[in-house]
Symmetry: C2
Subunit: 531 residues, 2 copies
């Protein structure tokens, strides 16, 4: 009999800890563990703000998934959907044009949530999110870049835009980011003789009347605010980021803040994969019982930020914090095992130990076991606690060294740009190469810039040639326009160069370019009859 398949979708705290704990049961029951995550690494979220500040190394906040869970099968891929009927997890094609799907017997959903700027015009386009390692790095690069640019500007108004930084959202991550950003900006600015420290504005916009109101008591909140104010942060309480453009942020009271750097840490919306699932939900989160099973589905478990988990029988639910996700992971692993061997499952319960937030330069605030702490002592505690909780021993060493180096060596302001300079992919094929096969997923539109291709279609088991296309022709638009799979095979009859335009970009162009849409529809009508 085939081994039972446990598939974990999502590699955040919940998913990773589930896999890690499941591995302990591998020698007691006959099953296999698989984890699917877009990146091949786990991000240690609590320290991500330090990447912005440069206090720790770029890769110190991440750990490779296959090191954390060495007995688990890993897929560094994006999930495109989950089929609950066939019990398959489908992944977006990479390198090939085919969906890749794996079967599950037990499914663990820990997809977290996604950054979403719905309802606030311009935020999607111009605000920087703060969620993963790439985001942190982009924020850091932007800061370094605008400072260097500001140093060369003479126009008063332009200087204001470049030297003002706006952070939206005063929860944990927002407060940590604004603290790190403020420290970094003011430290780096000293290297430019042409920048007067008084020109720099760092503005925190928060919808409530105090910082971290869900996590901290009023007095600690105020303490954090005082510390940040002293270091130069301005506060706009009871305001939201209403919209943003390339050069300004607009608040809900209509106030316009000229700025080239707008960061949003405002809580985000459910993952689209979760949204698409026909499973019971509450406020967009998967409704589970106290065993972490999604209601009505005993083989599907959910945890972390995408799950609504009852903490007691009186309607209290688990907060979306790392502290809880880690414990949920352990409980989830145990319950899956118990379910597998027919043992009784345990209801999940955990009492929070407290909470802490770092405030950048040698300062932090928190409440631990009911005791309020702040200042440098809290900062040491913060570091000690999170360092202790860092997964893997070698990572602990690296972070300790980074922190030590930070004491003795000033941070470097290297801008690590890894962007591709061209929006369109240029591809080259040789004679007889197949660009795509009939039945493949349609993910690109192609335009021939050099060479020739044959359009082939299978008929009664034979390849029939429908047409021959040459320079200037495009193909692949049919699958994109109608969201179907490829209706024909494209084979090169000589060395051929093509431009490839991604589906999403093609969609935007067609939706907005009257002439283009018309042209495509016309050609398609014609091809429908021909092909």
């Amino acid at each position: 009999m085939a081994k039972k398949q446990v598939v974990v979708v999502g590699g955040g705290f919940g998913g990773v800890y589930t896999a890690m704990h499941l591995e302990k049961y591998l020698n007691k029951a006959d099953f296999e563990i698989t984890i699917v995550n877009r990146e091949n690494y786990f991000v240690y979220q609590p320290m991500l703000a330090e990447v912005v500040g440069g206090t720790i190394g770029l890769l110190d906040t991440v750990a490779c998934l296959n090191r954390l869970a060495p007995k688990t099968k890993h897929y560094a891929r994006e999930v495109s959907g989950i089929n609950l009927e066939t019990k398959m997890v489908e992944m977006v094609p990479i390198y090939t044009h085919e969906y890749y799907a794996i079967p599950y017997d037990y499914l663990v959903l820990s997809l977290g949530n996604v950054t979403d700027f719905k309802g606030a015009p311009g935020l999607h386009e111009h605000a920087l999110p703060f969620k993963n390692l790439a985001d942190a790095l982009k924020i850091r690069n932007r800061i370094i870049d605008v400072l260097a640019t500001a140093a060369t500007l003479t126009d008063e108004n332009l200087r204001k835009e470049f030297l003002t930084f706006v952070v939206g959202g005063g929860g944990y991550s927002g407060s940590e980011v604004v603290a790190e950003l403020n420290d970094l900006v003011r430290k780096l600015a000293k290297e430019y003789k042409t920048i007067d420290p008084k020109e720099i504005r760092v503005v925190m916009v928060h919808s409530k009347d105090r910082l971290m109101e869900r996590e901290l008591s009023e007095s600690l909140s105020r303490y954090a605010e005082k510390i940040l104010r002293k270091r130069g942060v301005e506060f706009k309480f009871e305001q939201r980021l209403d919209s943003a453009t390339n050069d300004k942020a607009i608040l809900s009271n209509g106030e316009v803040i000229p700025s080239r750097t707008v960061i949003s840490t405002v809580p985000s919306s459910p993952n689209p994969i979760i949204e698409a699932l026909d499973l019971p939900k509450e406020k967009g989160k998967l409704k589970t019982n106290r065993f972490l099973q999604v209601e009505g589905h005993e083989n599907i478990f959910a945890l972390g930020d995408c799950a609504n988990i009852p903490l007691d029988d009186e309607g209290k639910t688990c907060p979306p914090t790392a502290q809880f996700a880690v414990r949920e992971g352990k409980a989830c692993a145990q319950n899956i095992y118990n379910q597998m061997i027919g043992k009784e499952k345990k209801p999940f319960f955990f009492k929070t130990l407290g909470s802490m937030g770092a405030l950048g330069h040698h300062n932090a605030v928190g409440e631990v076991f009911g005791i309020k702490v702040s200042g440098i002592l809290a900062w040491f505690m913060w570091r000690a606690i999170y360092w202790y909780k860092l997964p893997r021993f070698t990572r602990k060493i690296k972070v300790a060294i980074s922190w030590f180096l930070d004491f003795i060596i000033p941070p470097e302001s290297v801008m690590l740009k890894i962007e591709s300079s061209q929006a369109l992919a240029q591809l080259h094929f040789e004679k007889d190469d197949i660009i795509f096969h009939e039945g493949d997923i349609g993910d690109y539109l192609y335009i021939i810039t050099e060479g020739k291709v044959d359009v082939l279609k299978e008929k009664d088991g034979k390849q029939e040639k429908l047409a021959s296309l040459s320079k200037g022709s495009f193909f692949g638009e049919m699958a994109l326009l109608n969201e179907r799979t490829r209706t024909a095979t494209i084979k090169c009859t000589c060395p051929t160069d093509v431009l490839a335009l991604r589906k999403a970009d093609f969609g935007m162009l067609v939706a907005n370019f009257k002439g283009l849409k018309h042209q495509f529809t016309e050609v398609e009508e014609q091809r429908k009859h021909e092909f």
Copy 2:
């Protein structure tokens, strides 16, 4: 009187060392130093291959320019051209639509060369270059990615493509890359139970009959080859990479190597900025006299890989190595100072100390002061020499720690992806915002997806409204089609969303899309009369 301006273009070894040495003369003469470089950091090229292998940290090979030359003015910008008549260095616009230009009295050209795949179809599209930090990181990411993907594949032929790695060019950097790549691939593959080490192929393609033939004697060359062969590298001598596609490399003898990872380190062509200059050249390099002055221009100096510098009076020229560039920088600084104060200049001379190449895992080859060295001793020497020559003390500490950590901690295979997911930029503007001004540089084509804009043109000192455009219309194509500046100002009359397509992408689309070109030409004809 205004201070004399010395402008250094390019931040490689030559440029940076020129600036560093020039700073020593700042208190002796009245001048200012400026350096313009695309990145805000200097790349320590000799250690770049170690980034691929992960032996040293991501940022250990780079140093911030403003730390290296703290008394110099820095521009982290791309140079768009140099005007020899007006004596201005022009930079590509960032954040704004205007060219930024700075004047020079003394110009130092150290732009190196650029990777170029001319004449080899498909290399531009599919081969990975190896020149800067981003390249090294991309190669590393690709290796990690194809291994992870290969581990999930069952198709025999696909597995071959994913597990074969081809490196073109067997000079110094090619040999170092193939050594580091080979070590990394074989080490990482052990983490996947589904990959048999025998499936892995690492192929080095070199046009000559032995490795590093310009740098090393035949016996050392053969030794390096033997070492690499033993570790699993295959050699294809007297062959070139003729072309490449997404899934294969084709050699000059017609041999087809199925591979998803083709790297090219083949020597590259002159920088287009240098090509465009009306200055005396030899084989694409700037011809200088023995004082490093470009022939016939006593205020323009050139050094490094973009210069052809006589080493003696018998026609010998300086080799394009870091060792020379560093010394050239020092000589250049001194000669500029001497020129400034009217002192006699010194002809440049330097006798090479020797050369060394690392071969990955604890091995290297080299000739130092005429003595041949190889094996672990050479490797220690290699490390010691390059470590000693690393700029800045703090960097020395960091690299030493990285090397130490590498001994005790296995490397992580984190894939750091920082790509943007969309090819088209989406922008949001508010009412009365100006999208671009008349006279601005035309760098984007815009399509309105929501909102309305007015097209304004100045006439007799007044803004005249020419047209109003709304959803689905595009604008900005005139400046792109004719490579002129913007002929009108675009102002939003309500909150407006636009798609922006980069000039290069627009050019490709128009050149290859018959329908699109026709549409644009038509609209332009019409607008010419209207506007």
